[in-house]
């Protein structure tokens, strides 16, 4: 394979890294709120967060395409600010991936925070730790495994997405052409060799991720410091 194109691989890794970073930032407060809020809105928000799990990616992609398109306020604002559209761009792809993989971040974090419970946080508060201090020094280390699971699952899920990417991002080399799209294109053009390489790579990657998670969950409790 002298002319093997690594472009989609790097683009996919870049997309996954950016998406996971954003997801952990957005997912943490959301998962925290879902774990501890007594609000009546909680079940509603919980259901909305889980929607990407069961919606067909094309449905999600369709709505995102419309929402991010230049005809809506969000899309128009983006065009005004950057001079290009949000749809069919890397940025648009990041937003779509964040929405699409949200449950894979929020659910492990929520489970981890609920397992930590209020008790250690109350103890921290009576030791004069502010809520943010207690979150950073007590809840986060205790929920470390939840963070690992969330990061690994979200990364893998973002790498594996296809439908949403196709709807929102299309197939622009170096901009939106990620591995799954590249495979699709190779198959369409009957370039089975390249499709084989990328598919086998993804297969191995996915297996490695699941194996790592399984081993991680079997190991004795994680400890910090």
């Amino acid at each position: 394979m002298p002319d093997f194109d690594l472009g989609p691989v790097w683009l996919t890794v870049k997309l996954a890294v950016v998406t996971v970073s954003l997801l952990l930032l957005v997912g943490t407060p959301l998962a925290w709120w879902l774990s501890f809020s007594r609000s009546r809105l909680r079940p509603v928000i919980e259901a909305i967060t889980a929607l990407p799990l069961i919606l067909p990616p094309t449905v999600l992609g369709f709505y995102l395409l419309i929402l991010l398109g230049p005809a809506t306020p969000i899309g128009a604002l983006w065009v005004q600010a950057t001079g290009s559209t949000l749809t069919f761009s890397f940025s648009g792809l990041v937003i779509a991936s964040v929405v699409y993989s949200l449950p894979f971040t929020v659910q492990p974090l929520q489970t981890a925070f609920e397992a930590v419970g209020r008790e250690p946080l109350e103890a921290a508060a009576t030791l004069r730790a502010s809520p943010i201090d207690a979150f950073l020094t007590v809840a986060s280390p205790l929920a470390k495994r939840g963070y690992l699971t969330a990061a690994v699952l979200s990364f893998a899920h973002t790498v594996g997405e296809f439908g949403v990417v196709l709807m929102v991002g299309g197939n622009i080399p170096g901009e939106t052409k990620v591995i799954s799209i590249a495979i699709y294109e190779h198959v369409e053009t009957l370039d089975y060799t390249q499709a084989h390489v990328l598919s086998a790579g993804l297969l191995l990657f996915s297996f490695a991720v699941l194996l790592a998670l399984s081993l991680l969950n079997r190991r004795s409790p994680l400890r910090a410091g």
Partner: protein
């Protein structure tokens, strides 16, 4: 003496905790009551751990909560220490790291507390490098107490810290707790439903019953109050008497005591003449006679008059409060005995105490130094 003012309401279970009190906090104040009487609810309200509390809480001039003025000071700004029933050590940190966690966040306005002093006072040295999940129940609670002290609280709240421990471990930790107020200069609110703990370590008592404060006052006084018997409990109920050592009998290994001007003996105590002891006498270990008995093995016979008789409806029993001339003892008799002996207020009686019933654990550690007895 710092004063805790509470005027709060909080629904819980089938009751509503309704407490309006001003309590001067000095040494250890026991919050005593049956399970479900609202003890923990009260403590959590004071700590600010419960947002469902309505009312007003002030401590030592600081407003911690005042709904009328929309003030609610969050727990981390109140400067209260809280020792939980389940210790709540941070499982991701070693014992030493748990202690340092508190020390780093210590309240600067409070009197300094030295890390090593706390470690020494609670014998934590051998535990410092251990991981917290590997500790025994008793060790956990000692670490939790130490950790709380190192945050230098202005008020220490302890919520049945010994409830999860067996009797021997409890007995091992109680002396540590008893010394805290003097050693570290912090008043303690101590929740318990064990009257023996109240008698052993606390000077003051706040009695809770079905969500209401039934009484507050010195432990010795409340233990004598016959109207509180349903709350202080019947079987374990008794009084705490102050006694002074007047001499030692080396032949029979006995110590002579003076209780309200009357003579008592008990197995030899390692205390100087003039030293003070607290004796707990359970009502079920006191018998009454209308004449001074003769030819009897019981050595401790105290003369007094019946002050109060309270029959327990629909049971065979009655409680009799006997005035010994300053001090009081309680006797638990059958109602039949009360009738046969015609026991009524004012009747002179003799209280027979089985010496075995004097609880040696109730001896105030070390007693009062003889020099104070000039």
């Amino acid at each position: 003496m710092p004063v805790l003012e509470i005027d709060i309401e909080r629904p819980f279970g089938k009751f509503t905790l309704t407490a309006a009190k001003e309590i001067g906090l000095d040494g250890i104040t026991a919050v005593f009551g049956a399970s479900g009487s609202g003890k923990t609810t009260l403590l959590r309200a004071v700590a600010g751990l419960d947002r469902g509390v309505a009312g007003r809480i002030r401590f030592a001039g600081q407003v911690w909560q005042d709904d009328a003025r929309r003030i609610f000071v969050p727990p981390h700004k109140r400067g209260v220490g809280y020792v939980f029933q389940d210790a709540r050590l941070f499982s991701h940190l070693s014992v030493a790291a748990n202690l340092r966690y508190a020390a780093r966040r210590a309240r600067r306005e409070s009197r300094p507390i030295d890390f090593d002093d706390v470690v020494d006072a609670l014998d934590l040295g051998p535990l410092l490098d251990r991981q917290t999940p590997a500790l025994s129940g008793g060790e956990r609670q000692r670490v939790a107490i130490g950790r709380t002290l190192l945050a230098r609280p202005q008020l220490l709240l302890m919520d049945e810290p010994l409830a999860a421990l067996d009797i021997r471990r409890r007995a091992a930790i109680l002396p540590y707790i008893e010394r805290l107020p003097q050693t570290f200069g912090v008043p303690v609110l101590y929740v318990t439903h064990a009257i023996a703990e109240v008698a052993q370590i606390s000077q003051w008592m706040l009695l809770l019953s079905d969500g209401r404060v039934s009484a507050t006052g010195p432990v010795t006084e409340l233990m004598e109050r016959i109207d509180l018997f349903p709350m202080t409990g019947r079987f374990e109920a008794g009084v705490v008497l102050s006694a002074r050592v007047t001499g030692h009998d080396t032949t029979y290994h006995l110590t002579d005591l003076d209780v309200a001007g009357q003579h008592m003996v008990m197995p030899a105590l390692d205390l100087p003449v003039g030293g003070e002891v607290r004796l707990r006498i359970r009502a079920r270990d006191v018998a009454l006679a209308t004449q001074r008995p003769d030819g009897i093995s019981i050595r401790n016979v105290l003369a007094g008059t019946v002050a109060e008789v309270a029959a327990e409806p629909e049971t065979a029993f009655a409680e009799v409060l006997v005035d010994l001339g300053g001090a009081h003892v309680r006797a638990r008799l059958t109602r039949r005995s009360v009738a046969d002996l015609a026991l009524a207020p004012g009747r002179p009686v003799f209280a027979l105490l089985k010496s075995v019933a004097i609880d040696r654990r109730m001896i105030v550690a070390g007693g009062v130094p003889a020099s104070e007895e000039a």
